[in-house]
Amino acid sequence: MTLKECYAALEGDYEGVIGRLRSEKMVQKFVLKFLNDKSYELLEVSMAEKNYEEAFRAAHTIKGVCQNLSFTKLYESSHRLTDNLRSGYGAETDGLVRQVSEDYKQTIAAIEELQAGNPA
């Protein structure tokens, strides 16, 4: 799987990210690094512990990273969650977390496929 196909699978903006970060090699490196990012786990743990302040920061980090890498779909759902959590836990929070979780899994699946084709 190529980087471009990977972006298509995770519904990101391939042209956008190459336009900004300039180097396909660098983008690929960081896309693969995304597998090791702990923010999603932190989000899950914080939600389970009802630590919504920490959850906000975790969502915010996911949002920032996705924005940097133009992971458009996950960016949008984490963006909505961040805005929602900014004012604390609300009626819609759980739904938004589920959406982030779904998009995250889709993203990770795509990246894992990319990794399989490009062993380190």
């Binding site: 970060l21 702990k38 980090t61 920032g64 990273v65 924005q67």
Partner: protein, 698 residues
Amino acid sequence: MSYINGKDSPRQTILIADDSEMNRSILTDMLGDEYEIIEAENGVEAVSILQKYGNSISLLLLDIVMPEMDGFGVLTVMNKHRWIEDIPVIVISAENASVHVERAYELGVTEFISRPFDALILHRRVVNTILLYAKQKRLIDLVADQIYEKEQQSGLMVDILSHIVEFRNGESGLHVLHIRTLTEILLKHLGHRNSLYQLPRTEISLICTASALHDIGKISIPGEILNKPGRLTDEEFAEMKKHTLIGAEMLKALPMHQQEPLIKKAYEICRWHHERYDGRGYPDGLKGNEIPISAQVVALADVYDALTSERVYKKAFSHEVAVKMILDGQCGTFNPILMECLKEVESILVEELRGDSDARASRRQMQNVAEELLRHEDLSASERTLQLLEHERMKYSFFADMSEEIQFEYTVAPSMVTLSPFGAKKLGLDEILMDPHNNPEIQVMMGSGTLRALSNELRSTTPEHPQVKYDHEIYIHGEKRWMRTIGRAMWSADEPPRYMGAIGKTTDIHDERTRIDALVQMASHDSLTGLFNHNYARERIRERMEDRQAGVFALAIFDLDHFKSANDNYGHMFEDKVLIHMAEQLRRSTRGGDIAARVGGDEFLIFLEYKEDAEAVVQRIFTSLEGTYEDFRISVSMGVVRTDAVGTDYDTLFHAADQALYAAKRSGRGQYRFYDDTMQEMLSVISPIDGSEEKPVD
């Protein structure tokens, strides 16, 4: 700056503060080839790195949302310490709501870059910002050097000029310095007293410098008149008076610098320092506040110093006489508010002026140092300052590490404590602690009461006496220890002064204090039973009777009947056990305010206050003391005396109780007796009157 990428020159350092490892490594990847990168994963870490590396950080890339302390917190700290003036900050944030952007710019950031950023643009902005700051810094250095040089030179010129005048005058040379000191004291005090005369600090300093020139006009007064020992004739005096106008003319005739504030002030002072408040001075006969305040103050200073100095035509008057002469109006009329000021600062004048000769010596020294330094042209003034500061910092941290003291610095805004590395390690805390009053670790360690008390002590100091000493306990690694904190409050130079924070050190005095406590314990207690010893009990009883003069008290002494037989039958160890048991019984049956002690051997003492029925109290205690210990039957004999029977002299009380004890023994032991007059002639048990060491009865 062409050497920026050269291999020999040290690379510039960028600090990246972002809680996401991903984001940091993207930035590091983009910039790591050209710059040294230091990473911080939260705001507190960023602040401590800034503190540690100072100006060797060339740029800070700052995220806003971070744990521990967010980006705005970091910016606040940077403003507080004025780091923001030297270290450019680029904020990179997804928080691009305009309130955030605006706030960041208000806090002094150079650039605000929104996520997602374009690698090329970010890179260019980083390079530009660093170049711009480097250039700005060079310019600042240049300007600072020029100002420094200029101030040096004008200070020097003023000194030379005024000394020429004094030299011609045959004055000591201290005159100019005295005038300056007096002017400063009076002006500052005047400002406190009356807001009408409250001048900004820069203006006060300007007037003080200009005061040195008050007599430059005397340069063109003939020497015979200036130094004439006797009284001046009318013509001579008229000539002398001209020095005011001549001085003013000299300044006015300067081809340049007419707009310089220093020249303007000097003109006022030269021309009008002989005017008087009632209009009877010279040369213009100005009245009241037509005379500029600068000239009014220098005039007063001039008169005071002339009176207290020796001149060719007069001896020196004492300070008291001089002040009296001025207040009596013998030297002309001055502004009444100024007179009030003189009265109020009178006490500090003598002290301050005495310091002048020292100050003068040190000033000369300073000048020599400055000249020496200026010769090394390759060092610019600001670099020099930095070097000195760096040197001081090294010295400080060296001694801080050596001293094994917990040193701290506290700032009110932002509320933050910085600990010395040793201190942080010893306490198991971070070196930087935000909001100490609400920090749970500190709360647990010190207890909120202690922290508040210490804070209150510091806040109730004054700029003149800013130091406090405070002994308190803290928990270090779960152990409670006595500490002594010596702190110095930091007050601002404003009026009124503001509490800015404090510096200080905390030393462990636990061992010392424990030793003293142990010594006190040893000196006051009986080692076997832990009860008070007789000496200490005597003191406490005397104190108690002294404190409660209206109280009625009873003193009881008792011993164990047939105690010798216990000793004979069971041995010494048993005897000790019985005594310890007795002490325990005694503790149990006495109340909080009672005093119990072991007098010696098997004799004990109880001192108590009673309301109505002394006998009931004594009966209760007496009964509780009887019983058995193992199979030894305990029976006691007790003598009691009441203060309403013999008064409150301790020795009398003791002797009477002793006699009552004797009586109890005589009546068959195992009982108590109250002292009455019939016992007056009795022997006593403990202090035998016949002088024999043996007890008369046992």
